[in-house]
């Protein structure tokens, strides 16, 4: 049974996470709907906002931080990110290379 203080802290964390995520989502949708940037700039900004929002989810909803007890989860996530980057990056490089040479 958690003490009320700890519970308040946890609720605050969830509210903060939700608020940040909402802000990031509205920004992403907003800049597209209201044509605030050029197409290329908008695409990369949206990706960046998405990446930041993922980090918000990891930190506030999944409790992944740099503390000792999260470290194994963090290491797993970083390693998975490496593998995903290799696989997705490699796939895109190879397939676009093939595509270019087909045209």
């Amino acid at each position: 049974m958690t003490s009320p203080t700890i519970e308040r802290g946890e609720v605050r964390g969830i509210l903060l996470g939700y608020g940040l995520a909402l802000l990031l989502t509205l920004s992403a949708f907003g800049l597209v709907v209201f044509h605030l940037l050029t197409r290329r700039q908008a695409f990369y900004t949206v990706l960046g906002l998405g990446l930041v929002q993922m980090l918000v989810h990891f930190r506030f909803f999944l409790h992944i931080d740099f503390r000792r007890n999260s470290r194994p989860d963090l290491q797993l996530l970083l390693f998975s990110t490496l593998i995903v980057a290799l696989m997705v990056g490699g796939t895109l490089v190879v397939l676009f290379n093939l595509h270019g040479r087909m045209m």
């Binding site: 958690t2 197409r39 949206v46 989860d73 995903v84």
Partner: protein, 218 residues
């Protein structure tokens, strides 16, 4: 307790896990970590579906392309629904820790209400998505039309199928809560479902960024 502990203590903040012994602690930590590992393999699946989607954008075979298929309005509402459901699940997780007497349902009423809200939001999300696909079908944008539509449908559809699994999983856990109270196996299962649910919202961030917003930009 010997000083030579192996591995860091993995205290998941989701639910209080009062450990009775070193073996039980190891088992619970392993149960949760094992699910993380499974989620990572699932993440690879999604990542590859994204990569395939990326290579499919121009393979429209004369049919509808991304701009023609994406509708930002429903996508925005779906995003809000799913994000709200992450919030409500988080609240439910916190409320679950309130139960001083784990067998009395009334101590869990706030938790159950938050989880029920999560469930309703998830069902609403799925309903909207099914409606989106039905609209696309009416417009002739079916998955068998082109590689692009296959890739789009499978990417978004796989995410939807995962949400459906969560929708089935949640009442099963609530049933177990009613039947046997909040014992350790159920706590572990709740943690796993919460990891799953938040993971799905993270994948959705990628989907609305790379699929829907990119489509609206074209």
């Amino acid at each position: 307790m010997t000083a030579t502990t192996v591995g860091p203590a993995l205290l998941h903040a989701g639910l209080n896990l009062d450990h009775a012994s070193r073996e039980e602690a190891a088992q619970v930590q392993s149960d949760v970590f094992g699910f993380w590992v499974f989620l990572m393999s699932d993440a690879v699946v999604f990542a590859l579906l994204f990569a395939l989607f990326g290579t499919s954008l121009e393979a429209t075979a004369g049919g509808p392309d991304l701009a023609g298929v994406v509708k930002l309005g429903p996508a925005f509402i779906e995003t809000m629904l799913l994000l709200a459901s992450s919030f409500s699940f988080g609240m439910g997780s916190v409320m679950l820790k309130r139960g001083a007497k784990p067998r009395l349902m009334k101590h869990f009423r706030p938790a159950v209400l938050w989880l029920a809200l999560t469930w309703v939001l998830g069902v609403a999300f799925l309903g909207m998505e099914v409606n989106d696909f039905a609209t696309m079908a009416r417009e002739g944008a079916t998955p068998d039309r082109s590689f692009f539509l296959s890739a789009f449908s499978v990417l978004v559809g796989t995410h939807g199928m995962h949400v459906l699994i969560g929708i089935i999983w949640m009442p099963v856990l609530l049933l177990q809560l009613a039947a046997g109270g909040l014992d350790r196996p159920l706590k572990v299962n709740m943690i796993r479902l919460s990891l799953f649910w938040h993971f799905l919202d993270i994948v959705w961030i990628a989907i609305f960024s790379v699929v829907y917003l990119q489509g609206a930009l074209r």
